[in-house]
């Protein structure tokens, strides 16, 4: 212990950074989700056959679509917030408000997506 840095993934996740750290964490998770989605597409096209059908089955499943839309939508909106704040550093004084605005934009759009996907999954 004494020769090592006092840090691990668990300790980092346990840090009480609040809403700003949650946004940072979700940005990483959603980025990985998008990579997973694109990778599945490439693998399905490359191998085809039974493997392709199996992979298609995963990313066409309603629960995976909910996950992918969450990832793409959150990553895009959060990325836009960070880009705007990076380009106009003066706005960083309103970081908290920017995060609230981000959720205010994200939640209704994702809510509509959930409604449409679930309705379609139930055959509506």
């Amino acid at each position: 212990m004494s020769r090592e840095r006092n840090i691990s993934v668990i300790q980092g996740l346990r840090y009480q950074g609040g809403g700003v750290q949650l946004a940072w964490l979700l940005h990483r998770i959603s980025g990985l989700g998008i990579v997973l989605f694109v990778s599945l597409h490439i693998l399905a096209s490359f191998f085809g056959g039974d493997f392709g059908k199996f992979t298609n089955g995963i990313y066409e499943a309603w629960w995976f679509q909910l996950f992918v839309i969450f990832c793409a939508l959150f990553h895009a909106i959060n990325g836009l917030r960070i880009t705007v704040l990076d380009l106009w550093p003066k706005l960083l004084e309103y970081q908290r408000e920017a995060i609230w605005m981000e959720w205010a934009v994200f939640l209704p759009i994702y809510g509509i997506a959930i409604f449409v996907i679930i309705q379609t999954a139930l055959g509506g």
């Binding site: 840095r5 006092n6 940072w24 960083l92 004084e93």
Partner: protein
């Protein structure tokens, strides 16, 4: 009120792994967390190790994680945390003993940004101070408040990932000189900060600004340094 304080303990002379010890004692709601730690060290367990110096939020010695977030123990009141308080060392630095961490990597990063006044210009003819307008002074007023407590740097996920990253505190102190009209080494500092371990590692997480006990707009300062780097305008 009765306070139960759970404290991170590690003694390199006998422990191979850290553990937590719990102390229950009486405290006033208006006591500071540092007061409670002093009482534990003075009356219950003299082996407890932590840094403190001025105890008034100026020296920056007693940055620690209190209930999972970085604070200065001398500026944190018991009533703000409740009856159960967990105290741990700041993250990303080697623990020397209990709440004391090795600050050397932090200060090595600080030194890299040349945190001192650099000028080649001769002193004014009257031999007195180098004058500056109030507007020019205001540009870096906020970043002069840094006390190098490391609360910001050790709350930063990019620093957790690698202590090569200069960290928010070093960049804040670079900002203090880059935007000082009397200093003439802004381009040199911007070149240093353009390294892979410089400002590019900041992902605008904002943990640093939330953790700063001096309420410095750290992420904004880093953003201004980024813009100065891109535009070349100071």
């Amino acid at each position: 009120m009765q306070v139960t304080m759970k404290i991170f303990r590690f003694n390199p002379e006998k422990d191979t792994k850290f553990h937590y010890e719990t102390y229950t004692l009486e405290a006033e709601p208006t006591d500071r967390v540092l007061d409670v730690l002093e009482r534990i060290k003075g009356y219950e367990d003299g082996t407890l190790a932590f840094r403190r110096s001025c105890a008034h939020g100026v020296c920056g010695s007693d940055a620690m994680r209190i209930n999972g977030r970085n604070y200065l123990a001398c500026k944190s009141l018991v009533k703000d945390f409740g009856a159960n308080i967990t105290v741990e060392p700041i993250l990303g630095l080697r623990v020397i003993k209990d709440l004391i961490v090795d600050m050397n990597p932090f200060f090595e990063n600080y030194k890299k940004i040349l945190p001192y006044f650099i000028t080649e210009s001769p002193i004014p003819e009257d031999g007195r101070e180098r004058l500056q307008s109030q507007e020019d002074r205001e540009r870096f007023d906020d970043t002069t408040k840094c006390i190098l407590c490391a609360a910001c740097t050790t709350s930063c996920p990019s620093f957790w990932a690698s202590d090569d990253y200069f960290g928010p505190a070093a960049i804040v102190n670079a900002h203090r000189f880059i935007f000082d009209t009397r200093d003439e080494a802004a381009s040199e500092r911007l070149e240093i900060l353009a390294e892979t371990s410089g400002v590019a590692r900041c992902h605008t997480t904002y943990n640093c600004t939330v953790a700063c006990p001096r309420e410095i707009q750290i992420t904004k300062a880093i953003g201004e340094v980024k813009m100065a780097m891109v535009t070349g305008k100071v």
